[in-house]
Amino acid sequence: MDIINQMELKFLSVPENEGFARVAVSAFAVQLNPTLDVLADIKTAVSEAVTNAIVHGYEDETGLIVITASLRDDGILEVSVADTGKGIADISRAMQPFFTTQPEKERSGMGFSVMQTFMDRVTVESALGRGTTVRMQKRLREA
């Protein structure tokens, strides 16, 4: 398959950018005429990935988050959300429902579960001290 459009966003890991990021990615995806339900799914998953980068990747520091989104000619949206923060020690544990390292801050531990439910495919790459990249795919229309 070929990429028919692509964009990259780079922004500071401040909470005010959570809304900006999810709206920007969903606006980009609109080009393939997805349903409103699919757009809502994308917004929710992107919000979770960006929030994870802010609260876990960078925690008390501020760094850069880079989102790359691509539209493919087979109707698939690919989104990656990358930080260069702390990284995840145990990815499979972090992806378990209700697992959180910050229960005192009322984190639900459902971020990855939401991403996996709302998107068609989610993969995570992470290295301690080097950061985390979450890659997600969602079918926007039939090929």
Binding site: E18, G19, A40, K43, T44, E106, S108, V114, F118
Partner: protein
């Protein structure tokens, strides 16, 4: 946030988006309302809530834990489909009543 108090129940209408960014201020406002003497039940009217992610789950469950200790609880009503999907996924239907 608009709210209404009737006996031991406070009903709060949350508008806009509930994410990690807005969670802290919403949490603070809800805690002030349920901190009033005699409040045992919190009803969240989500008719005007346009978006919620898992940060909202944390906010709702946190208030539920507080009120459960007083023998009360939390109920929600008027969720849109996106909010309801997050709500259902998180298993909240087991502890939060839907009106």
């Amino acid at each position: 946030m608009e709210h209404e108090r009737k006996n031991g129940t406070v009903t709060v209408r949350i508008s806009g988006e509930l994410d990690h960014c807005s969670a802290q201020s919403i949490r603070r406002e809800l805690d002030a309302l349920i901190g009033e003497p005699g409040v045992k039940t919190l009803v969240l009217d989500l008719q005007d809530m346009t978006f919620m992610d898992s940060s909202g789950i944390g906010v709702i469950l946190g208030r539920y834990r507080t009120l459960r200790e007083r023998g009360g609880g939390v109920a929600v009503k008027n969720m849109n489909p996106q909010v309801e999907k997050v709500f259902t996924l998180s298993g909240m239907r087991q502890v939060i009543q839907i009106l």
